[in-house]
């Protein structure tokens, strides 16, 4: 057709402008810095310095070990829980299936705080141990790599559960029956047939767990661990004194992006050669467990949930507890911390909602058109759009934060300040970080709308825009909204990129939590944490009501 299509071309142009300006340019900027010296000459000396510095090398190795250990322990827990929930029937199964998702809604920064209140050196458990068993020294549950691994595992195992539940549901029963017909039973069937069939879903979850752990700097810092890559990047950047060290922060973040992309490509390659998707219309029946086994399963899940609930109990108590030191529980209760964080400026809550709300508006404005282009159009560059969307999921928030500081520091034309001095940079960075959730939510819904439904509208006389409004939109708005809500919730919780970009007087809730905790005011940090958890819980309840429990698609 030779008609000139101006509108769509402008739309595609705007989308690319946004992505280039706020994702590709900043990331390109840190890579440029990483391979040039102060005078702008091309050099590999920065990486040379990194790989000859024993401390940096140890950080790299530690980060890898931490990632692998966390993925392993989260996988054991996540797969076990998923298998129990999908294949067996026991009392309270539905309740457990909902509750196991709860750790994921606790913002990472709040989670680690909660752990310190209960499992820290002077936390409830150690105080009890010393009182009751006359132990002289507290047990070190948390401070060290093992603590980081413990906190990350308990926070992230539901990512694996969600993906494996989804994958298990799609396994065609006949594949297992075939295994049985040739004599595979019990463990060998599970190990050789069932679990391998869930590989694609599992790998997607494991990759997210790895990258999340790998790029989280707040949790290690709260637990006093500095010899990891992400905390190193953070510390090098925020010192703002030594230009040399600042540059090494940039080099580290560039390295983290490179590694994340590498892991992503490896995982993609691994999954691509293992496409097991089958359309199955029947499901495997859940097996009813004997009472004794039911007891075991319930005990296991309850224990796991208790561990997962530690942070909630911890922050809730800390947010209302007064004089909580060397006692198992606070000795007096107060609301003064809430008063401080809600009433006094800066208005953390208002700011957070403003930033996250704007971020979602941007996410929908950019993300829904992207999803539409991916699902429906033949525009050149769709492959690149898809790749960028996946890339964002993998790029560490730490690196994005550092990239923004580096890239938007110059004075804007007409102003004597850089973009980094305006609060609008917060919703922008959040929108970029959370864009994939909106795109995926909308894309998945668009795939459910069979193309012929739109063609049918076209055949009875509806134009393109009219078809979208009357047929497409009514069928996808739920998906868009769920993706948007998820973007909103995770924006509120974002605690990596925004920690670099905090502006005096314009801090968000997570800025406040981090600042209060670092300054020693743990109670105020806890109060903000509780507020964040409540908002997240409400969002998840709404998402669940609207989308069922199928949140897996958003992560996959």
């Amino acid at each position: 057709m030779s008609r000139l299509r101006v509108g769509p071309a402008v739309g595609v142009g705007l989308i690319w402008t946004f992505l280039v300006l706020f994702l590709i340019y900043p990331l390109g900027r840190i890579f440029y810095d990483a391979v040039t010296d102060e005078a702008g000459r091309w050099t590999l000396a920065n990486f040379g310095e990194f790989f000859t510095d024993r401390f940096y090398l140890r950080s790299l190795v530690n980060s890898m070990i931490l990632g692998v250990v966390t993925v392993f322990s989260a996988s054991v827990l996540g797969i076990t829980v998923a298998y129990l929930l999908v294949r067996y029937d026991f009392a309270g199964r539905n309740l457990f299936s909902y509750l196991t998702m709860i750790p994921i809604i606790s913002p990472p920064l709040v989670g680690v705080l909660g752990f310190t209140f209960i499992l820290g050196r002077a936390g409830t458990v150690n105080v009890l141990l010393m009182d009751v068993f006359d132990m002289l020294k507290p047990v070190n549950f948390l401070y060290g790599l093992h603590g980081v691994a413990l906190v990350e595992t308990l926070h992230l195992f539901p990512m694996i559960t969600l993906n494996v539940v989804d994958a298990l549901g799609k396994v065609d029963p006949s594949l297992e029956e075939a295994a049985e017909s040739v004599g595979a039973r019990g463990w060998s069937k599970l190990w050789r047939v069932t679990l391998p069939l869930t590989t694609p879903g599992y790998v997607a979850g494991a990759l997210l767990v790895f990258i999340w752990t790998f790029s989280d700097f707040a949790t290690p810092l709260v637990l006093g661990v500095q010899d990891l890559l992400a905390p190193q990047a953070y510390l090098n950047i925020v010192q703002f004194v030594d230009r040399r060290i600042f540059r090494m922060g940039i080099v580290i973040s560039a390295l983290m992006v490179l590694l994340a992309i590498l892991f992503l490509l490896a995982a993609r390659h691994y999954v691509a050669i293992k496409d097991y998707s089958s359309l199955s219309y029947s499901r495997i029946e859940r097996r009813r467990l004997s009472p004794a086994r039911q007891g075991l399963v319930i005990a296991f899940l309850s224990f796991l949930l208790l561990l997962s609930f530690i942070p909630y109990i911890g922050v809730t108590l800390a947010s209302v507890g007064k004089g909580w030191a060397l006692t198992p529980l606070p000795v007096a209760y107060t609301l003064q911390y809430y008063e401080r964080v809600i009433v006094e400026p800066p208005k953390y809550i208002v700011n957070s909602f403003l930033y996250s709300g704007l971020a979602v508006v941007i996410c929908i404005g950019v993300g829904v058109p992207i999803a539409w282009l991916l699902a429906r159009s033949t525009v050149p560059g769709r492959g690149a759009l898809d790749a960028i969307n996946t890339l964002i999921l993998a790029v560490p928030g730490t690196a994005i934060g550092i990239a923004y500081i580096r890239a938007f520091h110059f004075d804007l034309p007409g102003f004597d300040r850089g973009l980094t001095s305006f609060w609008i940079i917060m919703p922008l960075v959040l929108a970029v970080r959370r864009l994939p959730y909106t795109v995926r939510g909308s894309f998945a819904s668009l795939l459910l709308v069979h193309r012929s439904l739109e063609e049918a509208a076209s055949s009875v006389g509806a134009s393109g825009a009219r078809t979208f409004k009357d047929v497409t939109l009514p069928m996808i708005w739920k998906g868009v909204l769920v993706g948007g809500l998820f973007s909103f919730m995770t924006s509120l919780q974002e605690a990596s990129a925004v920690l670099f970009l905090a502006l005096g007087g314009w801090e968000s809730i997570t800025n406040g939590i981090f600042a209060f905790y670092i300054a020693g005011s743990a109670n105020e940090a806890a109060a903000l944490g509780v507020i964040l958890i409540i908002v997240a819980a409400v969002s998840v309840a709404i998402i669940n009501r609207m989308a069922g429990t199928r949140m897996g698609g958003v992560f996959g």
């Binding site: 057709m1 063609e455 134009s463």
Partner: protein, 357 residues
């Protein structure tokens, strides 16, 4: 509305899905595009609908060239293979959507909606949602939605493929009845040759983006011009051979085959290498009283009882298997496997067609 398709070509990447197709469909005709999957029939239909634009050639509806027009400016009605009913709209909303888009006054919308429902016998189902209907009912809603706009042309894309066998025959008759009643030019796409034969005025057999043969069902069945058409439409015994010349009486051809020389009539242009096509129902067991016609000896290798016919597979000495139908199995005792038999078939039903495979 006459449809004229001239030199229409459509490529997807390196694949030419429709290759220089020329067709003319008469006003009020029910015209079927028949072929195996991947032959280009659905692509051609979607070119007519306007979902694709041709890479070459012209499409005319009447004297209007519709190349480049979007679907909603072509005055077509389309029924999709999966019905494509909007699940968030009721039956009435689905059917009335196009009417409302045309900003017709409410009473007229109402009248035409009611008439549309009546035409497909769905009065009383207005407030149901598509999910609450059976497959056949959904099919009829889709049909009503396409017809209620009084389109110039009705396009049907494998409309029966999702229905049970019994309902399929019922809906098939209903489509034919409606089409006759409205005298609307209709293009019907199917891969089911029985469906094509039973309801079409004319059929175009397609393969690899080309139209191989166009004709009324009877002509297509009795005078296929190529091996592919002979094989795809109905069942045929196919025997490769070489034309030896016009030898027999009445201009019959003599064709040398693995079964010996056989006499045949040419269907289409034939010379040199060719294929003989004989329908199983024209192959008789034993020798006719006149003693004339083609004769082949063999042994029964398979007996299939189909109720209204009984089919023998007879293996000849050359290894070739011929099928022969007994059309009155009630009065026939099946022969055992291995029994030697002689098959005969007259030259008038032995068609020599060109070998296009």
């Amino acid at each position: 509305m006459i449809i004229e398709i001239q030199g229409v070509t459509k490529r997807f990447g390196g694949v030419t899905a429709v290759d220089h197709v020329d067709l003319t469909v008469a006003d009020g005709e029910l015209f079927t595009l028949l072929g195996p999957s991947g032959c280009g029939k659905t692509t051609l239909l979607r070119l007519l609908a306007g979902f694709y634009q041709p890479d070459g050639g012209t499409i005319r509806f009447g004297d209007r060239v519709v190349n480049g027009l979007p679907p909603y400016e072509r005055r077509i009605g389309m029924v999709f293979q999966n019905y494509a009913l909007w699940p968030h709209m009721t039956v009435a909303d689905n059917i009335g959507y196009g009417l409302r888009l045309r900003k017709l006054p409410a009473p007229e919308v109402h009248t035409r909606l009611r008439e549309g429902l009546r035409k497909v016998n769905l009065t009383g189902f207005e407030t149901r949602y598509p999910g609450q209907l059976s497959g056949g009912q959904q099919q009829r809603v889709a049909l009503a939605r396409a017809l209620v706009l009084n389109p110039d042309i009705l396009l049907l894309d494998e409309p029966l493929s999702n229905l049970d066998a019994k309902i399929r025959i019922q809906v098939r008759a209903e489509i034919r009845r409606l089409q006759q009643e409205l005298r609307i030019t209709t293009i019907y796409v199917t891969h089911d040759q029985e469906e094509a034969l039973s309801l079409s005025d004319r059929v175009a057999v397609m393969r690899d983006g080309h139209v191989l043969q166009v004709g009324p069902p009877k002509e297509l069945y009795e005078r296929p011009r190529t091996r592919f058409v002979a094989d795809f439409v109905g069942t045929n015994n196919l025997v490769p051979g070489e034309v030896q010349g016009a030898g027999g009486r009445g201009g019959d051809l003599v064709v040398s085959t693995a079964l010996g020389p056989l006499r045949a009539v040419a269907s289409g242009a034939v010379s040199g290498r060719c294929v003989l096509a004989v329908r199983p129902e024209n192959v008789a067991l034993g020798v006719p009283a006149s003693g004339e016609g083609n004769r082949v000896d063999g042994r029964v290798s398979l007996v299939s009882y189909l109720g209204n016919t009984l089919r023998y597979d007879v293996q000849t000495e050359s290894g070739l298997v011929l099928k022969a139908d007994i059309r009155d199995p009630w009065h026939h005792d099946p022969l055992p496997v291995g029994r030697p038999v002689t098959l005969s078939f007259p030259p008038s039903v032995t068609l020599a067609v060109s070998d296009d495979v």
